[in-house]
């Protein structure tokens, strides 16, 4: 089991800055994010966009800000669990917590800081009946973790972005049969990949169904067949072992809703003293929280992180006196 002072749920900009603020008070942080990389919305939605309202930076690219936040947090040696969703939080009798993830990782901590932003980024799913019945190893998957799992299988991919193109090209050499279904009549991903997919289709190495949509799936326990509606509204049934819908990610509040926190319109209600929630020891900062006058800005999340760290210190070490000093007095001393 991982042990730390603060477990931060969400590695967006606000969660990352919280490491620094907690570090100044000599508290260690472990961060968990369902995404495989840190940075939250900045890295996932708009890495190349400039941001203009970070004090001291007339303009900074979103990914650059994330990289700088990581560098700023570095002296405090944070630890990370990435690619796993926090599913459960259990309060212990001594007031500490155990945090559990989707992959059964456990973190024992003195305080929890939820910096979950808009929620978990999860795959966008097509509107197809019984999709859920075939998830979890029964044929429908939303990412290709291990391409070998598709060796000699009949695979249907759906989507028109870069990852749909890339995986179609890759799996063409691995799977027994590859079909790519795309709602449009041309691809807007990288031109080289689009050309390659067109060539593979011409050579008969893949089936390419344009202006088409997956509408039904069938099977007895495991996936057997995918029904596709083509440009003339005709139905085509294709035998398939796997369906891989690749429509990118969209945020969903997810498990945070079940942790007993007071929630108003998908956001956690907090006190403005230290951004504490209704459960003592659990704090919420950044886009995920709500209070009168809340502004969903990175800047505001940073401010909340500083106050949260002081609140978390008082919760974790009630006997210790915290004397406030400016960072410029002491400098930044890591662990």
């Amino acid at each position: 089991m991982i042990t730390t002072d603060i477990c931060i749920v969400g590695a967006g900009p606000v969660g990352l800055f919280a490491i620094f603020e907690a570090g100044l008070l000599k508290m260690r942080c472990h961060l968990i994010d369902v995404l495989p990389q840190v940075g939250g919305q900045l890295s996932e939605i708009y890495p190349h966009k400039p941001i203009y309202d970070i004090p001291g930076y007339p303009s900074v690219k979103a990914q650059e800000l994330v990289d700088n936040l990581m560098a700023q947090a570095e002296p405090f040696k944070p630890t990370f669990t990435l690619g796993e969703r926090v599913d459960e939080i259990q309060k212990q009798e001594d007031g500490t917590f155990i945090v559990k993830t989707s992959d059964a990782t456990e973190v024992h901590c003195k305080a929890i800081c939820i910096a979950g932003g808009l929620g978990c980024f999860e795959p966008r799913k097509p509107v197809v009946e019984r999709l859920e019945d075939f998830e979890g190893g029964k044929g429908v998957t939303y990412m290709v973790k291990d391409p070998e799992a598709f060796r000699d299988k009949k695979v249907v991919l759906a989507g028109g972005g870069d990852s749909a193109l890339d995986w179609t090209i890759f799996l063409a050499n691995v799977a027994k049969e590859v079909t790519l279904v795309h709602r449009g009549d041309s691809f807007r991903g990288a031109p080289a990949s689009a050309d390659k997919v067109a060539k593979l289709a011409e050579e008969g190495k893949i089936n390419l169904l344009l202006k088409s949509n997956v509408t039904k799936i069938n099977g007895n326990g495991v996936l057997k067949e995918v029904t596709i509606v083509g440009p003339e509204k005709e139905e085509i049934a294709i035998e398939a072992d796997n369906l891989i819908p690749l429509f990118g990610l969209s945020p969903k509040l997810g498990p945070i809703a079940n942790w007993g926190l007071n929630i108003d319109k998908a956001a956690i209600e907090v006190d403005r003293d230290s951004y504490s929630t209704n459960i003592p020891g659990i704090f919420a900062i950044g886009d995920i929280n709500t209070y009168t006058g809340k502004l969903k800005l990175i800047l505001c999340g940073f401010h909340e992180a500083a106050l949260m760290a002081h609140g978390a210190f008082k919760y974790a070490y009630p006997q210790q006196h915290l004397s406030f000093k400016y960072t410029t007095v002491n400098g930044v001393h890591g662990f």
Binding site: I45, G119, R124, P126, F247, S250, L253, A266
Partner: protein, 108 residues
Amino acid sequence: MVKFTVEDRDGSQQELEAPDDMGLNLMETLKAFEYEVLATCGGMALCGTCHVKVLAGGENLPEQGDAELDMLDMIPDSESNSRLSCQLQVNDNLEGCTFQICGSLSED
């Protein structure tokens, strides 16, 4: 002023009269009329949560731009009549159109 009809997620329709001289896009206008539109990215064609389908009268709408088409490719239920409402300026082109609100909500 421009008049167009909006169909909400529950199928109910309402005719809106919106100002065409305030530089608003359709997403902003829908929000102003208190329709539930998440619009996470604030109109940058990056989130897809302002998805609408044009049910009627789309003849005069401008073609989708590159950013809009890129995003529409990532929305599983988008069709040939799909648009991002943040990419449609409120002007004469919208007169008489019917838009169906489709974008996802995080509480889904």
